[in-house]
Amino acid sequence: MKSRAVSADSFPSHLYLDRLAQSIILALFLKIISSQPAHAEQVFTVALGALEEGDERYRPEWIGRWTLNTRFQNELHIYGRTQGRVRQSTLMLTSTYNYPILGSKWIMARLGGAMTRDETVIRGADADTPTRSHSAYNFGAYLGLGIQGGSKWTYSFDWNNAQFLAGSAGIFLATARKQSISLGLGWRI
């Protein structure tokens, strides 16, 4: 976690590092989806969802999802908004193992991990006011359920929870979470 103030007349140098971290998350996602055997069954999905900001306040998000042989799944959640001089953005990369439950072909449960990067940038009101930014990274568990149907074209409904232990209070089971509810349309190759 870091919070810094810089002058607004030049591009904040520390943001290069943030851009780098952001690029690494994106590159990891692309690397994972592009390094599988050509004969594997893959489903590429774009989903529109609601991501929890906290306290049951949900905001729209985009999700890029890649599923390998129905069992291995990676998602990139993208959420952001700009209000005046404030820009807020969240990237969440998840990686899970899917398994069918209750003997169903349609209902899949999933377990895995999640990594988030949250960033808030407040631009200076004028050239003399410094721009401030704050970014935070979190690692946690990712659990959820999904329903998927279709053959060449697929459709899906997903309900997932990212759980992060709340620092040392995690010993007493205090957690932070990002819940995501989404509808997706995919293409199977």
Binding site: E52, G54, D55, E56, Y99, I101, L102, I107, A109, L111, A141, L143, G144, L145, W159, N161, Q163, A166, A169, I171, F172, L173, A174, T175, A176, R177, Q179, I181
Partner: protein
């Protein structure tokens, strides 16, 4: 006072189920953990645990769960694995400070060390959605406790 009443209710439920007829064969689980109900995230679990942190389950030998907690109640079917993990899916009532109602319920859990007289160690994450009154409720809870099979 309300906490005491809930605790008494949970305790009596456990006693009742423990002495139930053989046709009630199954397990009783009592787990503690703070629920997230839209109030700034869950607080650390109280010491001793408050009744609002408790979750009580009755699981039949057929794998049907009846769950009750301060954030709702649900009936679910349990899918068990050989290594002690399970996934449950069902429906019920869920509420939070923002609203609530009927909706789906799911849980991911682990039961280990079932050999002793005290029962199995159990850890469970549960999530639920509630639609109907107020805004959508989406309580979750991470709880730990004991499941006694009989």
């Amino acid at each position: 006072m309300a906490d005491m009443k809930i605790t008494l209710c949970l305790f009596l439920s456990m006693i009742g189920l423990a002495f139930a007829d053989r046709s009630w064969a199954g397990g009783i689980g009592l787990r503690f953990g703070p629920p997230a109900i839209g109030t700034g995230g869950p607080n650390p679990v109280s010491i001793p645990p408050a009744a609002s942190d408790a979750g009580l389950s009755y699981i039949t030998d057929k794998g049907i769960e009846y769950n009750i907690a301060a954030t709702g109640m649900a009936v679910a079917a349990r899918d068990k694995t050989s290594w002690g993990g399970y996934t449950s899916l069902g429906a019920g009532l869920a509420w939070s400070v923002n609203g609530g109602g009927f909706g789906p319920y799911a849980a991911f859990g682990l039961e280990k060390g079932c050999g002793g007289w005290i029962g199995c160690f159990s850890m469970e994450f549960s999530q639920a959605l509630g639609f109907g009154f107020g805004h959508m409720a989406s309580p979750t809870a991470l709880r730990m406790g004991i499941v006694k099979w009989f």
